[in-house]
Symmetry: none
Subunit: 427 residues, 2 copies
């Protein structure tokens, strides 16, 4: 008879602060990411507070169903910290002071110039027979022991300490679970949504090899695509899929890895030996800020202009008062003059100008909140367009700034001037 | 015989991206915090991927053990999004298109100028008989239905959409669980850390009433303090504690609720009928962007100058070329001239100028990466100071921008000119 049992890795995060929402848990993402890079996807993650009965019940359940259970938190010195005690109970073994853990605590206290007290020494107690895991940056050592046939690995909740212990955690995990190095290519895209990408792939009716996993990660404002294969032999398939995506919507792909709109723009500008400027009304400095957030931006950016008031559009960028009066600040002539003024003042080769109604007030029937005029390009090749982006002020500013960077990238690379996001409601 | 059954609220977070660690889950903290403020602490939180069997098993288990189960994620348009389908199956009811949900999807698509496709319309299907939850900022409506005797509430995974739906989620929760209004006062502070606050409180030796809970929530760059009492009778105690905090470090308190550095500054400027400007080098537009992120900023902000290159400091703001050559861009004479130029050009009453080395390159022995000169104030009351903020480019830019806003607030309110964060390494 073959017994089929559930397998894989579970995570248990503990701490009252997580249940109250006082702390955003980044530790579990860190553990999950490290495992995923080795081809292991966490099956279940559960979070409970510092409650003995609930910890007993939850650890028993997770240990029954998994090969490996990684517990984070509850190894501290206070009476709330119950992990060692509960694991010992479930492992049917006494909680005992471990001589190496005691030396570790004593050495730690000595570094801090304090005498170990009872609370500190509590951290030296682990389930009898457990394997210790060194903690180079904190007083609480982790440990590993078995409950049922599950390997239970405990780690401290301080992010820095957890990170320093991850290599040991992965080594202990790989003794029970087959791990491998997954091969992932991450592509950064802008201006195209997950559902449109799925639709384009379906419509293309191109065969998609089952060995290549396509994942999405929604950022703001970018969308990341991940092409993952678990086997080196499948790398040509991965390359094939990459080319397929590139053929379908290559102009929306900014680059690989951690490429941002601003870093893609910077790279293109550097390659062409050009500089950029921005004349901003409704984005209020956000475009310049995105450009200069990237290291090395001084090579491609000299000056930006936040011309929020009409007088400043006129005085700083030379926009005609007559056009401001006649067409309003949110108009094609005004953004084109803003761009011309910024290009001239800064001496930049290419630029972006935006003027719009970020809201929540200031909208009219003719120009509702979310209306924005953009002008971009060089002195001799200026383009302009109006879009309406409904939603919050924050979303509006972020999308307008992102589109501004993208439109310059498109012009520099001679990509289609009408990106996907211009097929939305435009004027 | 009395059947004792477990009770309370459970959360279920879904999505492969959470299991792979691609996304740090902030939604569950948001939900937990909102519940905690109403006296309800989440009992268990479980996270699983987009896996039908595991979702069935997990939702069944959590529904059996709790009065309310809040599910987040899996309401999107793609085939990975399984929440509605799985909940319908467990609720023993068919998945049907809801006319109101269909109208919602259609209206949403119309606003975006697209025709609803099959993927979009999938979002109109909910378990038959479920109560819809309006989603004012997205296409996916949530819904509420019963599984066993548990109220199951579903919400979308996009943080902005979840936030806009929380009031409805809380109302639906309170129909099954006794909630109370804990009385919380949230204070926003800048420039002082949690451990310093604790230390100041300890040193003050003032009695702290046990009925008032003091909580901290680290934001970037602000720190939020929460004073919570569970009983209306304790409101005077809460007020007493508030006054105590105010006496100890009131100049670091920006305001209550969601006050930001920029909104506190805007409020002060409005009250005094003044306007502000910024001349930015190393922050590259971030200060102007923070000011204009706040609604209503046009009342207090007319223009900002991103003078990244030396030539632009000279041409736009009138900084002397001689001083640039002699002292370098990161120097006291240069930031003071930048400020003077920005005040004159914009006509603003008060302003901030910053010039520093954001890194990662560009540092010298004399001026290491992280060195920044700030000048702030009005034409007749100009102050300047140099600080060194080591760390990443991102952290540097954010802290310099935040300090810039705070220094202007301090001058306007005639608060101590040397805030706590200047006691760090300064020049």
């Amino acid at each position: 008879m073959t017994v089929i049992r559930p397998a894989g890795v579970a995570l248990l995060m503990t701490g009252d602060e997580l249940m109250r929402g006082d702390t955003v848990d980044s530790n579990s993402a860190h553990i999950a990411q490290a495992l995923t890079e080795r081809g292991v996807v966490v099956r279940e993650k559960t979070t409970v507070g510092d409650d003995r009965d609930l910890l007993l019940e939850t650890i028993a359940r997770l240990a029954k169903d998994h090969d490996v259970l990684i517990i984070n938190g509850g190894l501290g010195p206070t009476s709330d910290d119950l992990t060692s005690e509960v694991v010992a109970q479930l492992a049917n073994t006494p909680l005992k002071e471990h001589p190496d853990a005691r030396s570790h605590v004593e050495a730690w206290c000595q570094r801090l110039g304090v005498t170990p007290n009872e609370s500190n020494l509590k951290q030296a107690k682990v389930p009898f027979g457990a394997t210790l895991i060194d903690n180079p940056t904190g007083s609480a050592m982790g440990f590993s022991t078995d409950i049922y046939r599950c390997r239970v690995i405990t780690t401290p909740g301080v992010p820095r300490e957890l990170k320093a212990m991850m290599a040991s955690v992965l080594a202990l995990t790989s003794e029970r679970i087959t791990t491998q190095n997954a091969h992932t290519r991450r592509l950064q895209t802008f201006g195209i949504g997950e559902s449109t990408i799925q639709q384009l792939l379906n419509d293309s009716e191109l065969p998609w090899p089952p060995s290549v996993n396509l994942g999405f990660r929604a950022g703001m404002p970018q969308l990341e695509l991940k092409l993952t294969v678990n086997n080196e032999d499948d790398l040509p398939q991965q390359q094939h899929c990459f080319e397929q995506l590139n053929a379908l919507f290559g102009d929306h792909i900014l680059g690989e890895g951690d490429t941002t709109l601003a870093s893609a723009l910077q790279q293109t500008l550097r390659a062409q030996g050009k500089t950029v400027t921005a004349a901003e009304s409704c984005t209020g400095g956000l475009i310049a800020s995105m450009i200069t957030r990237e290291p090395g931006s001084s090579a491609i950016f000299n000056a930006g202009y936040v011309t929020y008031a009409n007088a400043s559009k006129r005085d700083t960028l030379g926009v005609s008062q007559e056009d401001l009066d006649k067409h309003g600040a949110v108009s094609e002539p005004v953004v084109r003059q803003m761009l011309a003024g910024a290009l001239e003042r800064s001496g930049a080769d290419i630029g972006i100008a935006v003027s719009g109604i970020a809201g929540p007030s200031g909208g009219t029937d003719e120009k509702p909140v979310g209306t924005v005029w953009l002008a971009w390009g060089s002195k001799d090749a200026m383009q302009s367009h109006c879009v309406v982006i409904p939603g919050s002020r924050d979303l509006f500013q972020n999308l307008v700034a992102a589109a501004g960077l993208d439109l310059m990238r498109r012009q520099l690379l001679a990509l289609p001037a009408q990106p996907h996001y211009f097929t939305r409601k435009t004027q």
